[in-house]
Symmetry: C2
Subunit: 198 residues, 2 copies
């Protein structure tokens, strides 16, 4: 199964904290697939950013705080803080996945934690390379890789693939051809995994 | 607590089948409050109809069928069928609530069942008055009431009130000043009711 998320999506972050444990209960491994809401939501769907949408933006802001309280998360970043450009994180992820598949998820966790829990900006290759990196990943090659042509190509291909699957929101979990959108759908996803579906 | 829904919202219908039982487990009664997505989503939020939104429309169509299978619902109406204008149903509801408060919810259930399970069109006063009505509600006065000025005023006021609470989607459950949007949020709502919140 696959876990699609955008690094700048708060509920994508929340989902990242639960998805592997949830899947492991049912003997499943999860492949992480960063995508870009700037492509799916803004370009393909033609919508405005969530937080700028009347009524819904306010709901999301309140639910962000409510979810964090519920799960005991101590976050430096607030829902209203300026968002970073998530493409450097996406490039870092796929560049790493192409070389050290087992290091991509730890790197993603480090980036998500730095962005959400610590409130850092990771819109540059330098900022990402300065993070405590998973063992086996070197800062210099990573920084160069993020800025290289290959990383851009890999990220674009992954975003295109997410659209082919019909993924539009973050997080979205794919099990076979079934999509589960939103962290609110995790109870349904879990029932699906537990029962084999319906 | 209050249950906001639009008669033409599939997930509003799905929520209506569960909300009273869910609330009763925690000793709560639910006031039903029909609203209009045509006002909240199309006018206030400036979005296009869900099913016409690329990617998301397809997800909703599939989730409609998946949810119906999961809950054993045998529905004549499909997600893609032409939608009725829900205002006559909203008018019928609030006109009835003003006279026979205890009959408004049974009437809403009858309308939801007729529209979703039986696939009827309820965009006219005549169609609504022809339904098997809750005992104590007469077809003639109801049909006249739906078309009267008072019903329109009551519905407009209720929609305005839903916006004041910040309600934008269907279903939305309000507990105090807390909103829970979507039938997917029912597990979280239930936890909120069970624990007193967080």
């Amino acid at each position: 199964m696959q876990f699609f998320f955008d690094f700048i999506s708060p509920f994508g972050y929340f989902g990242s904290l639960r998805i592997d444990q949830l899947a492991a209960k049912y003997g499943r491994e999860v492949q992480w697939r960063p995508m870009l809401l700037g492509v799916s939501v803004l370009k393909v769907m033609g919508l405005k950013p969530l937080l700028e949408t009347p009524l819904k933006g306010e709901y999301i802001r309140r639910e962000f705080d409510r979810y964090a309280r519920r799960h005991g998360l101590d976050l430096k970043r607030r829902a209203d803080d300026p968002m970073m450009d998530p493409r450097a994180c996406g490039r870092a992820f796929y560049w790493t996945a192409a070389r050290h598949p087992q290091l991509a998820k730890p790197l993603a966790r480090a980036m998500l934690d730095a962005y959400w829990a610590q409130g850092l900006d990771l819109s540059s290759a330098e900022a990402i390379a300065a993070l405590p990196l998973p063992q086996g990943l070197e800062a210099g090659p990573l920084a160069a890789g993020i800025q290289g042509e290959e990383a851009g190509r890999l990220l674009r291909a992954a975003v295109e693939e997410s659209l082919q699957w019909g993924v539009f929101g973050s997080p979205t979990v794919r099990v076979g051809s079934e999509l589960f959108w939103g962290v609110d759908s995790f109870p349904m996803l879990e029932e699906w995994l537990a029962t084999g579906g319906w």
